[in-house]
């Protein structure tokens, strides 16, 4: 009996260790590779650990103006999308979470179905829209079109948050003569703050990770976002004959580390946000 218990615990421990290795290995390997010299990267058999760790690849990446520009573009696009969808989403969630009116469930269903339809299904029409607005190859085109996927879950999650606020709080505010706008700004917004953090993080990460629209609506290198820039590494750097894997891995580490840290610091909030749809649906 005791032996079986020990064996079971050992098997369980092994499974957990294997899982963690599986989850973090690709990132870990990129990290280790980014510190190797080119001689070590391009030698067989593979060395698992850098013997002469170097920051050379990072130096080259950080001296690459196109890459820095792309990082700045991504920050601008992702933060603007996050702010706009939080502002618009919070207003809508207040209406959907605190009011009962005819048409409410239709609005909720339309918003939910937006999360389901593929971005590629609207690419052609958005391409024309972006051109018609004169936004082709300009960053606001991405801020506008990314709302397609950030707005629906922002509204969905915040509506859940605001629905949960006890009705007494609302009544007390009206007794004190508050207008709907004051109720929204002074009472509901602060109460929804945790939900805003969650949806804000999810929006930011989704926008940072987007590739299809960035690829389609931006043309010149100075308008690229990081996901697009990481693909053009082989073309822009020194030697034309080999893919600069060291720089590519250094750049990969640079553009993912902030997100991984955000995800780790806010893991509870993010997991709650990711699973909110499942528990409700």
């Amino acid at each position: 009996m005791k032996v079986r218990g020990v064996a079971r615990r050992a098997a369980f421990g092994m499974a957990v260790v294997l899982l963690v290795v599986y989850l973090v290995f690709p990132f870990g390997w990129a990290l280790v590779s980014s510190f190797k010299t080119n001689a070590e990267l391009f030698s067989t058999p593979t060395r698992f650990w850098p013997e002469h760790p170097t920051l050379e690849h990072y130096r080259q990446v950080l001296a690459n103006d196109d890459f820095l520009r792309a990082a700045l573009n991504s920050v601008l696009v992702a933060s603007s999308v996050t702010l706009v969808s939080l502002a618009i989403g919070a207003l809508a969630a207040f209406a959907l979470g605190r009011y009962r009116f005819r048409g409410r469930s239709i609005v909720l269903y339309v918003i939910l179905s937006m999360t389901l339809f593929p971005q590629i299904a609207v690419l052609g029409a958005l391409f024309q829209l972006v051109n018609a607005l004169g936004l082709y190859n300009r960053l606001p085109a991405l801020t506008l079109t990314y709302l397609v996927f950030t707005l629906p879950f922002t509204i969905w999650v915040l509506t859940g948050f605001l629905e949960a606020v006890p009705v007494e709080i609302e009544e007390a505010a009206y007794m004190d003569g508050a207008s709907p706008l004051q109720l929204f700004a002074k009472i509901m917004l602060p109460l929804a703050a945790p939900g805003m953090v969650t949806t804000g993080l999810l929006s930011f990460i989704a926008a940072w990770n987007e590739l299809l629209f960035a690829l389609s609506f931006m043309q010149t290198p100075d308008k690229r976002t990081v996901t697009h820039a990481i693909l053009s590494f082989s073309a822009t750097t020194s030697s034309a004959f080999e893919v600069p894997w060291g720089q590519m891995m250094a750049a990969s580490v640079l553009v993912t580390t902030p997100l991984v840290l955000l995800a780790l610091v806010f893991q509870r909030r993010i997991i709650a946000g990711l699973t909110a749809g499942a528990v409700k649906g």
Binding site: A87, V107, V122, G124, L126, P180, S216, T227
Partner: protein, 307 residues
């Protein structure tokens, strides 16, 4: 008597006015979201449908004409499109099955209480947080035919292969290579969804089953699986939708290689590189239809089991 009816009527009237006023306020708060939704989602969706019935080309001098269903007739005879359709559906079926099976296993593992569980849960977010375009590059480096770690382990350390494989170039390993990246990236999401579902199952049910002499397997098939069905359905729907519109992995890993195009990369190629908005919109609409078919199948299957 009459006074009370009058008061009741008056009260009802006041309540009606208040309800109307509240509805007006609600719509006012909704307006910005509705405008944006109409502008970036509803209008483009209808417009894509319309464009697919025209011969619109970007930057063309000729005005676009209405051509009826001819783009769709062309699609039915387009070998590249049919190949992409087949590859995408095949990819979706394999990845969704693997992700659900693996995700369920991980969720069951993490449902147990153990030291360091929250650290493992945090590690689950690592693949999810990395942009697909970037993680595909990381995997391409591991897949590299000469310097990649996979070939090194398989050939030099374990001796399982006599010579290295060019995983992303060899037609036999290209699809599995893409499947692995997708499974790695999205299984954590499935596992987290299922874990949330598992934690909603009351523990007393398992205790009652044990008292009644049920085996672990019986408890799993009679309690866990049925109660987990809503979460499984949500995971299934979300993952299928995502897999059918897969773009990043294939675009980054294979570029414009003709035998490795998915519906989304094909639509992107036609819309953006060739600027044939009419035909490209037909491909986009086709993706929408394929997704709709899958959803109808799921609804039919799950409803039948329900009754």
């Amino acid at each position: 008597m009459s006074t009370t009816t009058g008061e009741a009527e008056k009260q009802a009237e006041v309540a009606g006015i208040r309800a109307k006023r509240r509805a007006r306020v609600a719509w006012a708060f909704l307006t910005p979201a509705l405008i944006v939704t109409a502008f970036v989602a509803l209008y483009p969706l209808c417009d894509t449908l319309y464009l697919s019935l025209t011969n619109t080309r970007l930057g063309s001098e000729e005005p676009a004409r209405f051509v009826g269903l001819s783009n769709y007739v062309e699609l039915a005879h387009d070998g590249f499109f049919l190949d992409a359709l087949l590859l995408t559906v095949f990819f979706a079926v394999i990845t969704v099955v693997l992700e659900l099976a693996l995700g369920l296993g991980i969720a069951l593992l993490l449902d147990a209480r153990f030291k360091g569980r929250s650290a493992v849960r945090a590690a689950m977010l690592v693949p999810w947080a990395i942009p697909t375009a970037v993680s595909t590059q990381m995997w391409k480096w591991m897949y590299n035919d000469v310097y990649g770690v996979f070939n090194d382990v398989l050939v030099n350390r374990l001796g399982l292969l006599s010579e290295p494989i060019a995983f992303t170039a060899d037609p036999r390993t290209s699809l599995p290579a893409a499947v692995l990246v997708d499974v790695w990236k999205t299984t954590p999401f499935v596992a987290l969804l299922l874990l949330a579902g598992l934690q909603l199952i009351p523990r007393e049910l398992y205790e009652a089953a044990r008292v009644d002499g049920a085996t672990r397997l019986q408890a799993f098939t009679r309690i866990t699986l049925p109660l987990l069905r809503p979460a499984l359905l949500v995971a299934l729907v979300f993952r299928t939708l995502d897999a059918l519109r897969v773009f990043d992995v294939f675009y980054v890993m294979f570029g414009s290689r003709p035998d490795m195009q998915t519906l989304a990369t094909y639509a992107h190629e036609i819309l953006v590189s060739i600027s044939d908005v009419g035909y490209g919109s037909a491909v986009s609409t086709a993706i929408f239809l394929v997704i709709a078919v899958f959803i109808m199948i799921y609804v039919a299957l799950f409803q039948r089991r329900e009754t």
